[in-house]
Symmetry: C2
Subunit: 204 residues, 2 copies
Amino acid sequence: MSKGFLLIISGPAGTGKGTVCKELLKRNTNIIFSVSATTRGPRVGEIDGENYFFIDKEKFETMIGNDEFLEYAYVHTNYYGTPKKFVMEEINKGEIVLLEIDVQGAMQIKKNYSEAVFIFLLPPTMEELKNRIIKRGTESEEDINRRFENAFKELDFVGNYDYFVVNDIVEDAVSDIESIIKAEKLRVKRQSRIKEKVLLKGGR
Amino acid sequence: MSKGFLLIISGPAGTGKGTVCKELLKRNTNIIFSVSATTRGPRVGEIDGENYFFIDKEKFETMIGNDEFLEYAYVHTNYYGTPKKFVMEEINKGEIVLLEIDVQGAMQIKKNYSEAVFIFLLPPTMEELKNRIIKRGTESEEDINRRFENAFKELDFVGNYDYFVVNDIVEDAVSDIESIIKAEKLRVKRQSRIKEKVLLKGGR
């Protein structure tokens, strides 16, 4: 049986990671979405093990100590992280696990688990990137400018990724990612005993 | 502008390299077929620079001496080889160059130009591989058995390739290869100045 892989979809704020991942999962129901762990409490309707693994701070810090995260971050008094165990179990079952993550998180994973497939989402233009950041609408002009400058700087990280996908029309971006997935499944390095498999199927 | 790449389609006799390449070129008229050089004379209807580059033995051996081949072989009193110049010029123009070649030739290219994309064609079963070798119909049972044993041994080389494609139904094999091409075009390593390209398109 062939191993699955961890598919990282990443990029600066405003590149449309969330929209692209949602459409990708809708069109490919066999892809497993990586569930994060967090120390924040569940919101109404959130289900443990589905939206997040909800754990307390002590448990989270023990897991950090035991090197049980592919990446983690401390944001506004709470931890968020990607538990290794869940991802590795699914990969070993042959599944493709999707992780939507910011650039900093992706760079942590690159260090800890470089076998993942790293895709960098690009905005079609800088103009459009700014528009998308503005459209979120909840922030002051200062915040918007700061986010835009951040996003602009983060574009420099594209060189650390395997693939880039321009997210102009969502359907096209998803179709690009589907081709990457199809190609990655055909990688020799992810298959063991290809010759034996052909023989087993056909007899000799 | 992004660089193109050399796409190697290879595999043992009987895996259907010729059929798959013909269909791939038919469906993708933008792919450039790599023209080989040979010292054998042109047959009726063959055009220099299209079917082959027809050159004499002295010229061929000078080119060998000047390291002008990605690979070459001496078969039945004639030389056959893949001239570097043609391939590199097309790649630098951003083109995808297709080379259909046997396993030994592919392994020579792997040594000389490992940046190429190496695809190994597999038969669906060993039974089918034997059938395909038999179907050529021009050979004695001894020849058929020798070719089959050779093909069987050559399957061990799959580990040196980037991708494997099972050629059961030709259309499916071609569609797999098209996905590999689409993914390879999205590789970060083949693009220079991705950030600048986004900026140039959009202004800032």
